[in-house]
Protein backbone atom coordinates (compact mmCIF):
# COMPACT_ATOMS: atom_id res chain seq x y z
CA UNK A 1 0.00 0.00 0.00
CA UNK A 2 1.34 3.42 -0.95
CA UNK A 3 1.85 5.71 2.02
CA UNK A 4 0.71 9.25 1.25
CA UNK A 5 3.25 12.04 1.77
CA UNK A 6 2.46 14.92 4.14
CA UNK A 7 1.46 17.18 1.24
CA UNK A 8 -1.19 14.64 0.18
CA UNK A 9 -2.77 14.70 3.59
CA UNK A 10 -5.73 16.80 4.58
CA UNK A 11 -5.39 15.90 8.25
CA UNK A 12 -2.53 14.33 10.12
CA UNK A 13 -2.77 13.77 13.86
CA UNK A 14 -0.02 12.36 16.01
CA UNK A 15 -0.82 11.02 19.49
CA UNK A 16 -3.72 13.43 19.75
CA UNK A 17 -5.49 13.41 23.10
CA UNK A 18 -8.19 15.45 24.77
CA UNK A 19 -9.40 15.28 28.35
CA UNK A 20 -12.25 17.57 29.38
CA UNK A 21 -11.86 19.46 32.65
CA UNK A 22 -11.21 17.16 35.56
CA UNK A 23 -12.53 14.05 33.84
CA UNK A 24 -10.51 10.93 34.56
CA UNK A 25 -11.16 9.43 31.13
CA UNK A 26 -9.85 11.11 27.96
CA UNK A 27 -12.48 11.84 25.31
CA UNK A 28 -9.80 11.25 22.69
CA UNK A 29 -6.79 9.15 23.60
CA UNK A 30 -3.56 9.03 21.64
CA UNK A 31 -5.08 9.06 18.16
CA UNK A 32 -2.65 9.06 15.25
CA UNK A 33 -4.44 9.31 11.96
CA UNK A 34 -3.67 10.32 8.37
CA UNK A 35 -6.52 11.46 6.16
CA UNK A 36 -5.65 11.82 2.46
CA UNK A 37 -6.90 14.78 0.45
CA UNK A 38 -9.86 14.30 -1.88
CA UNK A 39 -11.46 11.51 0.11
CA UNK A 40 -14.50 10.94 2.26
CA UNK A 41 -13.12 9.84 5.59
CA UNK A 42 -15.53 8.65 8.23
CA UNK A 43 -15.11 8.43 11.96
CA UNK A 44 -17.45 5.67 13.02
CA UNK A 45 -18.40 5.02 16.61
CA UNK A 46 -21.17 5.04 19.16
CA UNK A 47 -22.35 8.27 20.75
CA UNK A 48 -19.66 9.54 23.08
CA UNK A 49 -16.89 7.54 21.40
CA UNK A 50 -14.79 10.67 20.77
CA UNK A 51 -15.66 11.31 17.11
CA UNK A 52 -16.94 14.83 17.64
CA UNK A 53 -14.06 15.73 19.92
CA UNK A 54 -11.56 14.67 17.26
CA UNK A 55 -13.45 16.60 14.57
CA UNK A 56 -13.71 19.72 16.73
CA UNK A 57 -9.98 19.69 17.38
CA UNK A 58 -9.29 19.38 13.65
CA UNK A 59 -11.74 22.20 12.93
CA UNK A 60 -9.88 24.42 15.44
CA UNK A 61 -12.94 24.61 17.69
CA UNK A 62 -11.30 22.82 20.58
CA UNK A 63 -7.76 22.75 21.92
CA UNK A 64 -6.10 19.35 22.29
CA UNK A 65 -4.68 18.37 25.67
CA UNK A 66 -1.64 16.80 24.03
CA UNK A 67 -0.34 15.62 20.68
CA UNK A 68 -0.28 17.45 17.37
CA UNK A 69 -2.75 17.86 14.56
CA UNK A 70 -2.03 19.32 11.15
CA UNK A 71 -4.81 20.38 8.84
CA UNK A 72 -3.93 20.96 5.18
CA UNK A 73 -0.31 21.26 6.27
CA UNK A 74 -0.94 23.82 9.02
CA UNK A 75 -0.83 23.27 12.74
CA UNK A 76 -4.42 23.40 14.00
CA UNK A 77 -3.29 24.79 17.35
CA UNK A 78 -0.81 27.49 16.39
CA UNK A 79 -1.77 28.28 12.78
CA UNK A 80 -5.51 28.60 13.23
CA UNK A 81 -5.85 31.52 10.81
CA UNK A 82 -4.39 29.54 7.92
CA UNK A 83 -6.52 26.50 8.78
CA UNK A 84 -9.76 28.45 9.18
CA UNK A 85 -9.34 30.12 5.80
CA UNK A 86 -9.45 26.69 4.17
CA UNK A 87 -12.13 24.79 6.06
CA UNK A 88 -15.86 24.80 6.76
CA UNK A 89 -17.73 22.82 9.37
CA UNK A 90 -21.30 21.86 10.14
CA UNK A 91 -21.34 21.13 13.86
CA UNK A 92 -23.40 18.33 15.33
CA UNK A 93 -26.99 19.39 16.08
CA UNK A 94 -26.48 22.78 14.45
CA UNK A 95 -29.82 24.51 13.95
CA UNK A 96 -31.09 26.97 11.42
CA UNK A 97 -32.41 30.39 12.47
CA UNK A 98 -36.22 30.41 12.38
CA UNK A 99 -36.71 33.71 10.64
CA UNK A 100 -34.08 33.16 7.96
CA UNK A 101 -34.62 31.35 4.66
CA UNK A 102 -32.19 28.83 3.11
CA UNK A 103 -31.02 31.62 0.79
CA UNK A 104 -30.38 33.88 3.80
CA UNK A 105 -28.43 31.13 5.53
CA UNK A 106 -26.11 30.57 2.59
CA UNK A 107 -25.69 34.32 2.12
CA UNK A 108 -24.89 34.66 5.82
CA UNK A 109 -22.26 31.96 5.52
CA UNK A 110 -20.61 33.52 2.48
CA UNK A 111 -20.79 37.21 3.39
CA UNK A 112 -19.64 36.59 6.96
CA UNK A 113 -16.55 34.98 5.40
CA UNK A 114 -15.99 38.19 3.49
CA UNK A 115 -17.54 37.41 0.11
CA UNK A 116 -18.96 40.47 -1.64
CA UNK A 117 -22.67 40.51 -2.44
CA UNK A 118 -21.98 40.30 -6.17
CA UNK A 119 -19.95 37.12 -5.61
CA UNK A 120 -22.17 35.62 -2.96
CA UNK A 121 -25.59 35.98 -4.62
CA UNK A 122 -24.96 33.78 -7.69
CA UNK A 123 -22.98 31.33 -5.59
CA UNK A 124 -25.82 31.02 -3.08
CA UNK A 125 -28.36 30.47 -5.85
CA UNK A 126 -26.24 27.81 -7.54
CA UNK A 127 -25.56 26.01 -4.29
CA UNK A 128 -29.24 25.93 -3.38
CA UNK A 129 -30.03 24.70 -6.87
CA UNK A 130 -27.48 21.90 -6.66
CA UNK A 131 -29.09 20.75 -3.42
CA UNK A 132 -32.63 20.92 -4.69
CA UNK A 133 -33.42 23.78 -2.35
CA UNK A 134 -34.41 26.37 -4.96
CA UNK A 135 -38.17 25.85 -4.46
CA UNK A 136 -37.70 26.53 -0.74
CA UNK A 137 -35.10 29.27 -1.00
CA UNK A 138 -37.56 31.90 0.26
CA UNK A 139 -39.29 29.80 2.89
CA UNK A 140 -38.54 30.61 6.51
CA UNK A 141 -36.67 27.72 8.04
CA UNK A 142 -39.26 27.15 10.78
CA UNK A 143 -41.60 26.07 7.97
CA UNK A 144 -39.12 23.58 6.48
CA UNK A 145 -38.88 19.85 7.20
CA UNK A 146 -35.93 18.49 9.17
CA UNK A 147 -34.35 17.19 5.98
CA UNK A 148 -34.55 20.53 4.22
CA UNK A 149 -33.14 22.31 7.26
CA UNK A 150 -30.23 19.87 7.36
CA UNK A 151 -29.62 20.38 3.66
CA UNK A 152 -29.61 24.12 4.30
CA UNK A 153 -26.86 23.69 6.89
CA UNK A 154 -24.82 21.54 4.55
CA UNK A 155 -25.33 24.20 1.86
CA UNK A 156 -23.85 26.80 4.21
CA UNK A 157 -20.60 24.83 4.37
CA UNK A 158 -20.62 23.65 0.79
CA UNK A 159 -21.05 27.11 -0.74
CA UNK A 160 -17.85 28.36 0.86
CA UNK A 161 -15.64 26.39 -1.55
CA UNK A 162 -13.55 25.28 1.41
CA UNK A 163 -10.97 22.61 0.65
CA UNK A 164 -11.87 20.56 3.69
CA UNK A 165 -15.39 20.16 5.01
CA UNK A 166 -16.27 18.76 8.40
CA UNK A 167 -19.71 17.20 8.75
CA UNK A 168 -20.57 16.05 12.24
CA UNK A 169 -23.45 13.56 12.13
CA UNK A 170 -25.00 15.32 9.13
CA UNK A 171 -27.92 12.92 8.73
CA UNK A 172 -28.97 12.48 12.32
CA UNK A 173 -32.74 12.51 12.63
CA UNK A 174 -33.36 12.51 8.87
CA UNK A 175 -35.71 10.17 7.06
CA UNK A 176 -34.17 7.63 4.64
CA UNK A 177 -34.89 9.74 1.55
CA UNK A 178 -33.36 12.87 3.05
CA UNK A 179 -30.36 10.87 4.24
CA UNK A 180 -29.71 9.59 0.73
CA UNK A 181 -29.96 13.13 -0.62
CA UNK A 182 -27.27 14.25 1.84
CA UNK A 183 -25.11 11.23 0.93
CA UNK A 184 -25.31 12.12 -2.75
CA UNK A 185 -24.31 15.63 -1.91
CA UNK A 186 -21.28 14.45 0.08
CA UNK A 187 -20.16 12.19 -2.78
CA UNK A 188 -20.59 15.10 -5.23
CA UNK A 189 -18.40 17.19 -2.96
CA UNK A 190 -15.66 14.60 -3.15
CA UNK A 191 -15.93 14.49 -6.91
CA UNK A 192 -15.34 18.22 -6.97
CA UNK A 193 -12.00 17.65 -5.25
CA UNK A 194 -12.94 18.38 -1.64
CA UNK A 195 -11.97 16.36 1.38
CA UNK A 196 -14.76 15.46 3.74
CA UNK A 197 -14.34 14.37 7.32
CA UNK A 198 -17.58 12.84 8.42
CA UNK A 199 -18.68 11.45 11.74
CA UNK A 200 -21.53 9.03 12.04
CA UNK A 201 -22.85 6.18 14.10
CA UNK A 202 -24.86 4.85 11.16
CA UNK A 203 -23.05 1.84 9.70
CA UNK A 204 -24.93 1.95 6.42
CA UNK A 205 -23.94 5.57 5.98
CA UNK A 206 -20.28 4.82 6.62
CA UNK A 207 -20.38 1.81 4.29
CA UNK A 208 -22.20 3.60 1.49
CA UNK A 209 -20.10 6.69 1.01
CA UNK A 210 -16.73 6.39 2.77
CA UNK A 211 -13.41 5.90 1.09
CA UNK A 212 -11.90 5.11 4.46
CA UNK A 213 -13.35 4.47 7.87
CA UNK A 214 -11.80 4.83 11.30
CA UNK A 215 -13.62 2.92 14.02
CA UNK A 216 -13.41 4.76 17.32
CA UNK A 217 -14.43 3.59 20.78
CA UNK A 218 -13.90 5.14 24.20
CA UNK A 219 -11.66 7.78 22.66
CA UNK A 220 -9.37 5.26 21.05
CA UNK A 221 -8.78 4.41 17.44
CA UNK A 222 -9.53 0.73 16.95
CA UNK A 223 -9.08 0.19 13.25
CA UNK A 224 -8.69 2.19 10.01
CA UNK A 225 -9.22 1.08 6.44
CA UNK A 226 -11.51 0.87 3.47
CA UNK A 227 -14.75 -1.03 3.91
CA UNK A 228 -13.13 -4.00 2.19
CA UNK A 229 -9.99 -3.82 4.32
CA UNK A 230 -12.07 -3.70 7.47
CA UNK A 231 -14.14 -6.68 6.39
CA UNK A 232 -10.98 -8.58 5.50
CA UNK A 233 -9.63 -7.91 8.95
CA UNK A 234 -12.17 -10.41 10.28
CA UNK A 235 -10.97 -13.98 10.14
CA UNK A 236 -14.52 -15.05 9.25
CA UNK A 237 -15.98 -14.45 5.80
CA UNK A 238 -19.60 -15.41 6.21
CA UNK A 239 -22.34 -14.80 8.70
CA UNK A 240 -25.41 -16.84 9.48
CA UNK A 241 -28.33 -15.17 11.23
CA UNK A 242 -30.40 -17.70 13.12
CA UNK A 243 -33.87 -16.81 14.34
CA UNK A 244 -34.75 -19.97 16.31
CA UNK A 245 -34.19 -23.71 16.65
CA UNK A 246 -30.71 -23.67 18.16
CA UNK A 247 -29.13 -23.38 21.58
CA UNK A 248 -26.25 -20.94 21.89
CA UNK A 249 -23.91 -23.69 23.12
CA UNK A 250 -24.29 -25.83 20.01
CA UNK A 251 -23.66 -22.82 17.74
CA UNK A 252 -20.19 -22.26 19.21
CA UNK A 253 -18.86 -25.24 17.26
CA UNK A 254 -19.66 -23.39 14.01
CA UNK A 255 -17.84 -20.14 14.78
CA UNK A 256 -18.02 -16.88 16.69
CA UNK A 257 -21.51 -16.39 18.15
CA UNK A 258 -23.11 -13.02 18.81
CA UNK A 259 -26.45 -12.35 20.40
CA UNK A 260 -28.43 -9.80 18.39
CA UNK A 261 -31.63 -9.14 20.31
CA UNK A 262 -33.58 -12.42 20.35
CA UNK A 263 -31.50 -13.90 17.52
CA UNK A 264 -28.02 -15.31 17.10
CA UNK A 265 -25.43 -14.33 14.57
CA UNK A 266 -22.65 -16.79 13.78
CA UNK A 267 -19.50 -15.54 12.07
CA UNK A 268 -17.79 -18.37 10.31
CA UNK A 269 -16.26 -19.56 7.03
CA UNK A 270 -18.26 -20.55 3.94
CA UNK A 271 -17.99 -24.31 4.54
CA UNK A 272 -19.27 -24.25 8.10
CA UNK A 273 -21.92 -21.68 7.14
CA UNK A 274 -23.19 -24.11 4.56
CA UNK A 275 -23.32 -26.91 7.15
CA UNK A 276 -25.13 -24.70 9.60
CA UNK A 277 -27.64 -23.62 6.97
CA UNK A 278 -28.33 -27.26 6.06
CA UNK A 279 -28.87 -28.09 9.70
CA UNK A 280 -31.25 -25.14 10.01
CA UNK A 281 -33.24 -26.43 7.05
CA UNK A 282 -33.44 -29.87 8.68
CA UNK A 283 -34.77 -28.31 11.87
CA UNK A 284 -37.10 -26.02 9.94
CA UNK A 285 -35.38 -23.05 11.56
CA UNK A 286 -35.02 -19.70 9.84
CA UNK A 287 -31.43 -18.95 8.82
CA UNK A 288 -30.02 -16.23 6.65
CA UNK A 289 -26.54 -16.60 5.12
CA UNK A 290 -24.62 -13.58 3.88
CA UNK A 291 -21.07 -12.25 3.60
CA UNK A 292 -19.73 -10.44 6.66
CA UNK A 293 -20.56 -6.73 6.72
CA UNK A 294 -19.17 -3.62 8.34
CA UNK A 295 -21.77 -4.21 11.03
CA UNK A 296 -19.96 -7.41 12.01
CA UNK A 297 -16.58 -5.72 12.06
CA UNK A 298 -17.99 -2.92 14.21
CA UNK A 299 -19.64 -5.26 16.70
CA UNK A 300 -16.55 -7.42 16.81
CA UNK A 301 -14.40 -4.41 17.68
CA UNK A 302 -16.72 -2.29 19.80
CA UNK A 303 -19.00 -4.87 21.35
CA UNK A 304 -22.72 -5.48 21.24
CA UNK A 305 -23.83 -3.14 24.00
CA UNK A 306 -26.65 -0.88 22.82
CA UNK A 307 -25.79 1.85 25.29
CA UNK A 308 -23.89 4.96 24.38
CA UNK A 309 -20.35 5.35 25.56
CA UNK A 310 -19.64 7.79 28.36
CA UNK A 311 -21.02 11.21 27.56
CA UNK A 312 -18.49 14.02 27.23
Amino acid sequence: MQVPSSSDLAIESISLSKTYGKSSRPAVADISLSIPKGTIFTLLGKNGAGKTTFLRMAATELKPTSGTIKVLGFDAVTQTRQVRERIAAVPQEMRTFESLTPYDHVMLSLTSRGWSLSEARPKARRTLNSLGLTPYSKTHSDELSGGLRQRTLVAMALATEAQLIFLDEPTIGLDPVARRAVWKLIVDLKHSGKTILLTTHYLDEAESISDKIAIVSKGRLLKVGTVQELKSSLSETTRVDIASGFYEEELHSFGKVMRIGENYRVLTDEQRASRLASLAIERRARANVSPVSLDDVFIDLVGESETDEEEQ
Binding site: E85, I87, V90, M94, L108, T111, S112, G114, R126
Partner: protein, 267 residues
Protein backbone atom coordinates in the same frame (compact mmCIF):
# COMPACT_ATOMS: atom_id res chain seq x y z
CA UNK B 1 -26.97 20.67 -11.99
CA UNK B 2 -23.68 20.42 -10.13
CA UNK B 3 -21.77 23.40 -8.93
CA UNK B 4 -18.98 22.82 -11.42
CA UNK B 5 -21.29 23.09 -14.39
CA UNK B 6 -21.76 26.80 -13.94
CA UNK B 7 -18.55 28.53 -12.90
CA UNK B 8 -18.86 31.80 -11.08
CA UNK B 9 -18.27 34.62 -13.53
CA UNK B 10 -15.15 36.62 -12.94
CA UNK B 11 -13.90 34.19 -10.31
CA UNK B 12 -13.76 30.92 -12.17
CA UNK B 13 -10.04 31.09 -12.94
CA UNK B 14 -9.20 31.62 -9.32
CA UNK B 15 -9.40 28.38 -7.39
CA UNK B 16 -10.53 28.70 -3.84
CA UNK B 17 -7.87 30.33 -1.80
CA UNK B 18 -7.65 32.17 1.44
CA UNK B 19 -9.28 35.57 1.29
CA UNK B 20 -7.04 38.12 2.87
CA UNK B 21 -8.82 39.62 5.82
CA UNK B 22 -8.39 43.21 4.78
CA UNK B 23 -10.21 45.93 6.69
CA UNK B 24 -12.88 46.06 3.98
CA UNK B 25 -13.43 42.30 4.14
CA UNK B 26 -13.71 42.45 7.91
CA UNK B 27 -16.23 45.27 7.67
CA UNK B 28 -18.21 43.20 5.19
CA UNK B 29 -18.22 40.26 7.60
CA UNK B 30 -19.37 42.45 10.47
CA UNK B 31 -22.07 44.03 8.30
CA UNK B 32 -23.29 40.63 7.15
CA UNK B 33 -23.59 39.30 10.68
CA UNK B 34 -25.44 42.39 11.87
CA UNK B 35 -27.80 42.26 8.88
CA UNK B 36 -28.74 38.60 9.20
CA UNK B 37 -28.84 38.43 12.99
CA UNK B 38 -30.39 41.84 13.61
CA UNK B 39 -31.76 44.00 10.81
CA UNK B 40 -33.47 41.18 8.92
CA UNK B 41 -34.92 39.73 12.12
CA UNK B 42 -36.35 43.12 13.12
CA UNK B 43 -37.84 43.61 9.66
CA UNK B 44 -39.49 40.18 9.78
CA UNK B 45 -40.43 40.17 13.47
CA UNK B 46 -40.87 43.80 14.62
CA UNK B 47 -42.32 42.59 17.94
CA UNK B 48 -38.76 42.11 19.26
CA UNK B 49 -38.40 45.92 19.38
CA UNK B 50 -41.10 46.19 22.03
CA UNK B 51 -39.54 43.47 24.20
CA UNK B 52 -36.11 45.12 24.31
CA UNK B 53 -37.47 48.50 25.43
CA UNK B 54 -40.16 47.52 27.92
CA UNK B 55 -38.13 47.91 31.14
CA UNK B 56 -36.52 51.32 30.45
CA UNK B 57 -39.81 52.89 29.31
CA UNK B 58 -41.65 51.39 32.30
CA UNK B 59 -39.13 52.91 34.73
CA UNK B 60 -39.37 56.22 32.86
CA UNK B 61 -43.15 56.15 33.19
CA UNK B 62 -42.98 55.45 36.96
CA UNK B 63 -40.48 58.26 37.43
CA UNK B 64 -42.84 60.61 35.65
CA UNK B 65 -45.82 59.51 37.76
CA UNK B 66 -44.04 59.36 41.12
CA UNK B 67 -41.35 62.02 40.76
CA UNK B 68 -43.15 64.48 38.52
CA UNK B 69 -41.99 66.16 35.31
CA UNK B 70 -38.76 67.35 36.99
CA UNK B 71 -37.40 63.81 36.95
CA UNK B 72 -38.21 63.19 33.30
CA UNK B 73 -34.85 64.43 31.91
CA UNK B 74 -33.02 62.18 34.40
CA UNK B 75 -35.35 59.37 33.45
CA UNK B 76 -34.60 59.96 29.77
CA UNK B 77 -30.89 59.66 30.41
CA UNK B 78 -31.49 56.57 32.53
CA UNK B 79 -33.64 55.00 29.82
CA UNK B 80 -31.00 55.71 27.17
CA UNK B 81 -28.20 54.22 29.27
CA UNK B 82 -30.41 51.30 30.25
CA UNK B 83 -31.38 50.52 26.65
CA UNK B 84 -27.78 50.68 25.39
CA UNK B 85 -26.32 48.68 28.25
CA UNK B 86 -29.23 46.23 28.00
CA UNK B 87 -28.55 45.78 24.27
CA UNK B 88 -24.94 44.97 25.03
CA UNK B 89 -25.74 42.56 27.81
CA UNK B 90 -28.52 40.80 25.90
CA UNK B 91 -25.93 40.22 23.21
CA UNK B 92 -24.49 37.90 25.86
CA UNK B 93 -27.75 35.95 26.03
CA UNK B 94 -28.07 35.74 22.25
CA UNK B 95 -24.43 34.77 21.84
CA UNK B 96 -24.94 32.01 24.42
CA UNK B 97 -27.92 30.71 22.45
CA UNK B 98 -25.93 30.92 19.23
CA UNK B 99 -23.19 28.87 20.82
CA UNK B 100 -25.14 26.28 22.77
CA UNK B 101 -28.44 25.92 20.93
CA UNK B 102 -27.75 26.90 17.33
CA UNK B 103 -24.05 25.87 17.33
CA UNK B 104 -23.53 28.92 15.17
CA UNK B 105 -20.41 30.01 17.06
CA UNK B 106 -18.68 26.72 16.22
CA UNK B 107 -19.69 27.21 12.59
CA UNK B 108 -18.07 30.66 12.69
CA UNK B 109 -14.97 29.50 14.58
CA UNK B 110 -14.22 27.08 11.74
CA UNK B 111 -14.12 29.99 9.30
CA UNK B 112 -11.91 33.05 8.70
CA UNK B 113 -14.14 35.14 10.94
CA UNK B 114 -12.41 36.36 14.11
CA UNK B 115 -13.97 36.50 17.54
CA UNK B 116 -13.86 40.30 17.57
CA UNK B 117 -15.59 40.55 14.19
CA UNK B 118 -18.22 38.09 15.37
CA UNK B 119 -18.80 40.12 18.52
CA UNK B 120 -19.02 43.40 16.61
CA UNK B 121 -21.39 41.90 14.05
CA UNK B 122 -23.72 40.50 16.69
CA UNK B 123 -23.62 43.69 18.76
CA UNK B 124 -24.48 45.85 15.75
CA UNK B 125 -27.32 43.47 15.06
CA UNK B 126 -28.43 43.81 18.66
CA UNK B 127 -28.37 47.59 18.29
CA UNK B 128 -30.97 47.28 15.55
CA UNK B 129 -33.50 46.01 18.08
CA UNK B 130 -33.15 49.14 20.21
CA UNK B 131 -32.68 51.76 17.50
CA UNK B 132 -36.41 52.63 17.24
CA UNK B 133 -36.56 53.15 21.03
CA UNK B 134 -33.45 55.32 20.94
CA UNK B 135 -34.99 57.42 18.18
CA UNK B 136 -38.09 57.93 20.33
CA UNK B 137 -35.88 59.01 23.23
CA UNK B 138 -33.89 61.37 21.01
CA UNK B 139 -37.16 62.90 19.84
CA UNK B 140 -38.14 63.56 23.47
CA UNK B 141 -34.65 64.92 24.18
CA UNK B 142 -35.24 67.37 21.34
CA UNK B 143 -38.74 68.21 22.54
CA UNK B 144 -37.33 69.06 26.00
CA UNK B 145 -34.60 71.14 24.33
CA UNK B 146 -31.87 68.88 25.69
CA UNK B 147 -30.21 68.52 22.31
CA UNK B 148 -27.62 71.27 22.25
CA UNK B 149 -24.15 71.78 20.79
CA UNK B 150 -22.82 69.29 23.35
CA UNK B 151 -25.10 66.45 22.21
CA UNK B 152 -22.37 64.84 20.01
CA UNK B 153 -20.38 64.35 23.21
CA UNK B 154 -23.41 62.61 24.70
CA UNK B 155 -23.41 60.35 21.63
CA UNK B 156 -19.77 59.47 22.31
CA UNK B 157 -20.71 58.53 25.88
CA UNK B 158 -23.56 56.39 24.53
CA UNK B 159 -21.17 54.72 22.11
CA UNK B 160 -18.79 53.85 24.94
CA UNK B 161 -21.71 52.50 26.98
CA UNK B 162 -22.70 50.24 24.12
CA UNK B 163 -19.14 49.07 23.42
CA UNK B 164 -18.27 48.21 27.01
CA UNK B 165 -21.53 46.42 27.68
CA UNK B 166 -21.38 44.49 24.39
CA UNK B 167 -17.82 43.39 25.11
CA UNK B 168 -18.81 42.42 28.65
CA UNK B 169 -21.90 40.56 27.40
CA UNK B 170 -19.93 38.64 24.79
CA UNK B 171 -17.13 37.79 27.20
CA UNK B 172 -19.68 36.54 29.71
CA UNK B 173 -21.50 34.48 27.09
CA UNK B 174 -18.46 32.39 26.25
CA UNK B 175 -18.33 31.11 29.83
CA UNK B 176 -22.03 30.34 30.35
CA UNK B 177 -22.46 26.59 30.25
CA UNK B 178 -26.26 26.29 30.01
CA UNK B 179 -28.48 28.27 27.70
CA UNK B 180 -31.18 28.38 30.37
CA UNK B 181 -28.80 30.44 32.52
CA UNK B 182 -28.14 32.95 29.76
CA UNK B 183 -31.19 35.18 30.23
CA UNK B 184 -31.15 34.99 34.02
CA UNK B 185 -27.44 35.92 34.21
CA UNK B 186 -27.73 38.79 31.74
CA UNK B 187 -30.98 40.06 33.30
CA UNK B 188 -29.36 40.05 36.74
CA UNK B 189 -26.26 41.89 35.51
CA UNK B 190 -28.47 44.34 33.60
CA UNK B 191 -30.50 45.09 36.73
CA UNK B 192 -27.34 45.48 38.81
CA UNK B 193 -25.92 47.90 36.28
CA UNK B 194 -28.93 49.93 35.23
CA UNK B 195 -31.64 49.86 37.89
CA UNK B 196 -29.76 49.71 41.21
CA UNK B 197 -27.08 52.40 40.57
CA UNK B 198 -28.09 56.08 40.15
CA UNK B 199 -28.79 55.81 36.43
CA UNK B 200 -32.37 57.11 36.42
CA UNK B 201 -31.74 59.72 39.12
CA UNK B 202 -28.87 62.00 40.28
CA UNK B 203 -26.29 60.47 42.61
CA UNK B 204 -27.01 63.21 45.17
CA UNK B 205 -30.20 61.32 46.07
CA UNK B 206 -28.04 58.61 47.65
CA UNK B 207 -26.76 59.40 51.18
CA UNK B 208 -23.11 60.52 50.99
CA UNK B 209 -21.79 57.60 53.06
CA UNK B 210 -23.19 55.03 50.60
CA UNK B 211 -22.15 56.75 47.38
CA UNK B 212 -18.86 54.88 47.15
CA UNK B 213 -20.88 51.75 46.33
CA UNK B 214 -22.62 53.53 43.45
CA UNK B 215 -19.27 54.72 42.11
CA UNK B 216 -18.21 51.11 41.62
CA UNK B 217 -20.73 50.73 38.81
CA UNK B 218 -19.56 52.06 35.43
CA UNK B 219 -23.12 53.04 34.64
CA UNK B 220 -23.09 55.58 37.48
CA UNK B 221 -20.25 57.36 35.69
CA UNK B 222 -22.12 57.11 32.42
CA UNK B 223 -25.09 58.91 33.93
CA UNK B 224 -22.93 61.53 35.65
CA UNK B 225 -21.29 62.36 32.33
CA UNK B 226 -24.61 62.41 30.47
CA UNK B 227 -26.24 64.60 33.10
CA UNK B 228 -23.29 66.98 32.96
CA UNK B 229 -23.02 67.10 29.17
CA UNK B 230 -26.76 67.72 28.77
CA UNK B 231 -26.66 70.45 31.46
CA UNK B 232 -28.95 68.78 33.99
CA UNK B 233 -26.48 68.70 36.84
CA UNK B 234 -23.15 70.35 37.46
CA UNK B 235 -20.35 68.23 38.85
CA UNK B 236 -16.83 69.22 39.98
CA UNK B 237 -14.22 68.92 37.27
CA UNK B 238 -12.35 66.29 39.28
CA UNK B 239 -15.51 64.15 39.35
CA UNK B 240 -15.90 64.43 35.57
CA UNK B 241 -12.26 63.49 35.00
CA UNK B 242 -12.67 60.45 37.21
CA UNK B 243 -15.91 59.46 35.42
CA UNK B 244 -14.31 59.79 31.98
CA UNK B 245 -11.32 57.76 33.16
CA UNK B 246 -13.55 55.06 34.64
CA UNK B 247 -15.73 54.86 31.52
CA UNK B 248 -12.77 54.71 29.14
CA UNK B 249 -10.97 52.28 31.44
CA UNK B 250 -13.97 49.94 31.61
CA UNK B 251 -14.43 50.12 27.83
CA UNK B 252 -10.80 49.30 27.08
CA UNK B 253 -10.68 46.64 29.77
CA UNK B 254 -13.82 44.81 28.64
CA UNK B 255 -12.94 45.11 24.96
CA UNK B 256 -9.50 43.64 25.65
CA UNK B 257 -11.12 40.94 27.77
CA UNK B 258 -13.53 40.05 24.95
CA UNK B 259 -10.79 40.15 22.32
CA UNK B 260 -8.15 38.15 24.15
CA UNK B 261 -9.80 36.21 26.94
CA UNK B 262 -13.24 35.26 25.59
CA UNK B 263 -13.52 31.58 24.76
CA UNK B 264 -13.73 31.74 20.98
CA UNK B 265 -12.15 28.32 20.70
CA UNK B 266 -13.06 26.12 23.63
CA UNK B 267 -10.15 25.18 25.89
Amino acid sequence: MSIEEEPLQGKEEIPFGPRRRSFAVRLRSIGALSYYTGILVVIRSPGFIVFSSTTPFTVLFFLFVVGGPGYVPYGLIGATVSILVGAGLFLGADATFNRLQFKFQDFCVASPLTGVDYMLGLSLGELTFVTPSLLVLFFVFGYLRLITWSFPLALVIMLLAWVFSSAFGFFLSTFILRSRSAFSVTSLVSTLLTVVPPVFYPIQVIPARFRFVAYLAPTTHLSILMQSVLGLQSYPESQLIVSWAVLLGFTIFFFALAAFKARWRQP
